[in-house]
């Protein structure tokens, strides 16, 4: 599987997927005009990946903003990884948030309560 990079825009996140290394990265803003059509290819890639995952998977979220429709898709992504974690594969979620952004910190905590995956919360300043 090839490395996939989708450039970010004002309302869609930058997506980087490296299946060989097992690294998945989402950064920026997510409020696509059509959430389903933006994320469908991404979810397909993840679905393919979990059939034969790398030894270690790392999923990074560095989001500044996401709308409620995107919040549902983020949960769907996490659930895919929860499956392979249950099968014994190593999965680590890294959730980045700005030090002033309480909402983003809280969102990360909520996801960590819903799915059974190791979550690492990472605060950044600039």
């Amino acid at each position: 599987m090839e490395v996939v990079k989708i450039a970010g825009t004002d309302d869609t996140p930058e997506v980087k997927i490296d299946p060989k290394k097992g690294i998945f990265e989402f950064s920026g803003r997510s409020l696509p005009e059509d959430v389903l059509s933006f994320y469908a290819p991404v979810l397909q890639l993840i679905e393919d990946y979990i059939q034969k995952p790398a030894k270690n998977s790392e999923v990074l979220f560095r989001l500044d903003y996401f709308n409620t429709a995107s919040s549902k898709v983020i949960l769907d992504i996490l659930i895919y990884f929860e499956h392979i974690s249950k099968e014994g594969h190593n999965v680590e979620i890294k959730w980045f948030y700005h030090q002033d952004d309480e909402d983003m910190a809280e969102a990360g905590e909520e996801y960590s309560e819903i799915v059974d995956l190791p979550f690492e919360m990472q605060v950044y300043r600039h």
Partner: protein
Amino acid sequence: MKKIDFKELVYQFHQDMLANKFTLVYEGEITHQITKAFTTLAENKMDSYSEDASVKKKVFHVMVECLQNLSKHAEDLKILRNNGYSGSGIFIIGKVGEEDENYHVLTGNVVKKTKVPELEAFLDKINSLDKDGLKELYKKQMREGTLSEKGGAGLGLIDIARKTGEKLEYNFIDIDDKNAFYTLRTKILKK
């Protein structure tokens, strides 16, 4: 046909906007481009009086969710339009004539009366919950809900209540035996 006095109409509209402290009033179809334009406009306006970053973020958030709720009703309204109703909904942002300087986002759109009881029950449920209750409802809805074809996840209203910490003020006005006009007012407190 009744003759319209345009100068009077424009002046009156201008006066009403000022009196109610409306920044923006829009009636029509909500597209993605319009959502982007309105949020940018509101952000620029708030920048011009150095609004607090967290208030700006809340206003942005509420605007996005309200506009998306309106746009999701567009399909219903195409049918309604053929029956004589026009417009997809009204969107207003401003300080809404209050003594305080809080921001208000107001929306209005036509809904089928058959959908009113469900919507009303959902709004009442949201209003009955405290911070933790809303958090649990949001998590439950995320787990159990599915994205509709129009990208709705039933999360917008819960999220608005959570982000603002305010009750959702809503009303239904009778239009005819099939339709009602649903209005929603969201308040975003200034720090």
